[in-house]
Symmetry: C2
Subunit: 361 residues, 2 copies
């Protein structure tokens, strides 16, 4: 079955590799001849346990997760983690938050319910158009942890270095996990909603240094205790089985493509194509400053909201879907996750050039 | 594509209608010719919003949810609701809990983190083999709510009446929602994990009287506030889109089959077939007492653990899958959700009879 050719630039949920979708389609009603769909399997059955274990192992291999760290498959998205992190790690004390966009701001606000939040950085004043430098970070040696969001989906900025901090590092990698090499041993905790680079919406992957478990506040729901989820291997209750299975298929595809090194190469190539043009364009204005630019979400606009709307409409008519910017920022955004083929970026670029020719002031 | 014929008696995740799986398979890579899978759609897109709205409306029609009540599509299963209910409704005061099985017990334990829990009933002493009568309930007029679990999946008991209580009714209907008519107006809140009668694991449906929103404790995570989720129409963050879509397909199937009245008729017929035989059998012993028996989960055993194990093994060899009882209870359990065809129950019954002939003491 071949699909109508569209390119889906959605910021998440977002494009999945077509070969993964076709494999899921084949396997959907009857997985490996067992007579059941993965969607029908008891999570306590041997057949599902094997899918679960293999997916976890593939993830461990792909990202290079050391044995010191546990991999958890949870629900509730990064948003539930905004509360789960402080409930488990803050111990009613203080943590450092770098607010560089919408989601790190939400995380900081949520953490303040459970202890003290210090702003280690805050780029609100300049519309979150850049990432602070290491020197600009205000760091508290007594902080229980330092929290940041590696890539700001809405504003299109991305941390291009790993901050050095006196306290344990906690990072929301929802929009760039599996797109670049990560030295996991530097992190106390990594969290990521699956719906951008990993799987359909409904799965959250957490990678946690086991030594951090067991510090949860008494008001922590049992299901939100990292300790419980580590002890129960993510099965304190029924996990999101289908999304875990889909993650396994995506990880197979990732390995076939050459793993994270190949993904990183494509990530650079895709983004460079757009930024090079944006820097030359007389019509389009990139939002993020050089040095802070996201390779996952390229944000730009024209000088007029009317032209922006015309651009988005014309893009959709050509099958270039979901290039409208977030309602907070307006403008345009092209999200270029792992499954976005270079042809999609080239098609978008061709349309941008054509649009500029017709609308150059 | 035809599947190997098995009957899946799993307590959840569990069997889905085959026609639903085949439709999902057809639509998987390219929904309605849009060039995208439902798994790839932005949850803020018009095309997904239509799926979301239609599914909600189908659910409202199927269960007969009045306009006073909101329908929420959440994550985290019933287990997250064990904390979310008291965080939102307890106000630090006291609530009545009827503990008639494992999950109501867990719910009561979780609620005690956020206020006082009174046991309105507790059937632990007799191994949760029955449901208390209305007269046996110890009710506190000052309770913020009365909580019960309509069907105990592990023990195989089911409330066959709606308790009359001075405080608002909160009910976990995870294992019998959409299997019998419910007068929703009697309930302040209904919660149900989807993975038994509704959809794949990863979706929780909550039906809530809007007047109860806005009472959450200050330590409630934003995503766990019913008020927030009502205001954001379940989209405070990315919802579990694929599971919501699958629920829509199941609801279409349910309507084609004759809706809840047809489901209830089949529910009675399936369970009666097994209970009639269990009451006559000289080998098998039913767990639940008459008057309290679940029509969703029929629990039974022989007098020996070795025979139980032999029965389970022989069943699997015939494609009668997942009839092993829960690890807490041992014995056997046949889960008979909406999608279990009568032929499955007949095949199980035939095997039970044959087994009894060969093993009658």
């Amino acid at each position: 079955m071949s699909r109508e050719q569209v390119y889906n630039f959605s910021p998440g949920p977002s494009v999945l590799p077509e070969s993964v979708l076709l494999r899921a389609q084949r396997e959907l009603p009857d997985f490996a001849g067992c007579g059941m769909s993965v969607m029908e399997m008891s999570h306590r059955s041997k057949i599902f346990q094997a899918i679960f274990d293999e997916t976890k192992e593939k993830f461990r291999q792909a990202l290079g997760v050391p044995d010191t760290h546990e991999i958890l498959f949870l629900q509730g998205g990064a948003t539930l983690q905004f509360a789960m992190v402080p409930m488990n790690l803050l111990e009613g004390a203080s943590a450092d938050y770098a607010v560089t966009g919408n989601f790190s701001g939400k995380a900081a606000k949520e953490a303040a319910k459970y202890g003290a939040v210090r702003l280690a950085a805050d780029t609100t004043a300049t519309g979150h158009d850049r990432i602070p430098t290491q020197e600009e970070l205000s760091l508290d040696p007594a902080a229980k942890y330092f929290y940041y969001c590696a890539n700001n989906t809405i504003y299109g900025t991305e941390w291009q270095y790993v901050p050095e901090t006196p306290s344990p590092l906690v990072c929301d990698m929802s929009s760039d996990i599996l797109t670049r090499p990560v030295d996991v041993s530097k992190y106390a905790l990594i969290l990521a909603g699956a719906q951008k680079n990993m799987a359909p919406a409904g799965l959250t992957v957490v990678v946690i240094d086991r030594r951090l478990a067991g510090r949860e506040l008494p008001i922590t729901p049992e299901i939100m205790s990292y300790r419980t989820m580590i002890e129960k291997d993510s099965m304190h209750n029924t996990p999101p089985c289908w999304c875990i299975y889909m993650l396994g298929l995506v990880l197979d595809w990732l390995a076939e493509q050459g793993g994270i090194p190949a993904m990183e190469e494509r990530k650079h190539a895709r983004a460079q194509l757009l930024y090079d043009y944006l820097d030359e364009s007389g019509l389009f204005i990139p939002h993020a400053r050089p040095g802070s630019r996201s390779e996952m979400n390229v944000t730009f606009r024209t000088s007029s909201e009317e032209l922006d709307a015309e651009f988005v409409k014309g893009a959709a008519a050509r099958g270039l879907l979901n290039v409208k910017g977030h309602r907070i920022t307006g403008g345009m955004r092209a999200s270029l996750y792992n499954a976005m083929p270079m042809e999609g970026v080239e098609a978008l670029l061709a349309y941008m050039k054509e649009f500029e020719v017709h609308h150059h002031v």
